[in-house]
Amino acid sequence: MNMFTQPRSVARAGDEKDGPSVDGMKHISPIQVAGETPVKMPTRRALAKQQTRAKVLAAARRLFSEFGYEGATIRDIAAAAGMSTGAVFANFSDKSDLFREIMASDMSSLADTMREAAGRGRGVEDCLQKMFAAGYAFYKSQLPLARAAFSVSWAPQDGPVLRSAPQVQILHDLIAEQLTLGVQRGELGQEAEIKLRTQMLFEAYLSNYPQAIFEGWSLDALQARSRDQIRILLAGARRG
């Protein structure tokens, strides 16, 4: 039995993502009435809430991977997490919110992995190659989830929301940063069209996932293809 487990009315209070806010509280817990210190309470409650969220996210991740985005319902996710649909809705506004949260945390880790890989490269082409290779390796073990993500990213409603997520912007920025460094080092000309090239490099990176998802391409095959694509997309910007 977990010492942080709280009555549901308490766990629900304050739905803000960054933890419960006292102002937004709709339920007063018996403990609070008893006068527990205001510092300790939110921490306990935040922990309980965090655990609930983690449980829902883990179940959602499993179901999205198994049945796809369309195929997994909130009801199924709640059942898999061992809680009511109400408890799920207390933490997430809807299925797309749940999915975005999973993608956001994955993409943050992905960005860290890619940044670190780019740091090990020499020259703009090598840095981009290492960066993309790290991305493929990151998702290789969770291709079904990647497949669900692609499905969502193309949907007319949810797609633009997912694609404009700050975490996606970070991936764009990482690519743009490498191109800018390439210009500064004199590898690429001043007219490198960084914005358009960044977009094209990112789309080229994504375009190889279907080969991995549907054709079972190996990491080596993905890397080889992506190396060629990077070379092609940089060709016009090269100096001399």
Partner: protein, 224 residues
């Protein structure tokens, strides 16, 4: 047996006075249902989008039972695939007519091909995006052809670039498949601009033209 609006015709087709035509009639009946379902689905997808349309609504709009829809199609994704096949047929006819007459540099010929893409698909943009989304969905049957794995478009693009080798503006060692892949990726992204920026066919064409220029830099013969 489900009773639906198409029932009287099915009974007619099985009329004992015309036994020889019974089997053919049943086949024709199924074809008629398919046509009605696809026509109804096309209209609903265009007006309320793919995600917002249910099989039940398609059945009602087509005047058939939900059961009859499922005897023809396994899923909504399969109906979408069929709707898109119909759209693409007209598109291919247009390409076959125009492509042999294209002149100019390889990049310009590719630009002309994509200008046709955008012009033909502009009215059904959202449906096209749903079509791409469905390619990753679990409901799509193995036989359906999602975007990007369409052999005919890939061949056409590869041929267009290959022609440039003979004309001298494409490197003879160019990896054609790799270039086709890049073009498809660039095109698909450009299509997203419709939903993200409300771009029209002209804006998309201009963006695509710049991207083709950038890709063409990559297949230009190396000066040695």
């Amino acid at each position: 047996m489900p009773v639906d609006a198409a029932e009287p015709r099915r009974i007619l087709a099985r009329s004992p006075r015309r036994p020889a035509e019974a089997a053919g009639g049943r086949h024709a009946q199924k074809e008629a249902t398919r046509t009605r379902v696809v026509d109804a689905a096309r209209e609903l997808f265009d007006t309320q989008g793919y995600q917002g349309t249910t099989i039940r609504e398609i059945a009602r709009h087509a005047g058939v039972s939900v059961g009859s829809v499922f005897t023809c199609y396994a899923s909504k994704g399969e109906i979408l695939s069929e709707v898109m096949e119909g759209r693409l047929a007209g598109f291919y006819a247009e390409l076959d007519r125009v492509v042999p007459h294209l002149r100019g540099s390889t990049a310009d010929r590719l630009r002309s091909i994509y200008a046709i893409f955008f012009a033909v698909e502009e009215p059904g943009t959202k449906l096209f995006l749903s079509h791409i989304a469905a390619a990753y969905d679990w409901t799509l049957p193995p036989g359906a052809k999602p975007y990007g794995r369409n052999e005919r478009i890939r061949e056409l693009l590869a041929e267009t670039i290959a022609k440039g080798i003979a004309a001298g503006d494409v490197d003879p060692n160019a990896d054609l498949e790799g270039f086709v892949e890049l073009l498809i990726a660039a095109y698909a992204w450009t299509y997203q601009m419709v939903v993200t920026d409300g771009a029209d066919a002209k804006t998309m064409s201009e963006t695509m033209d710049r991207q083709i220029g950038l890709i063409a830099d990559g297949f230009r013969p190396r000066a040695s």
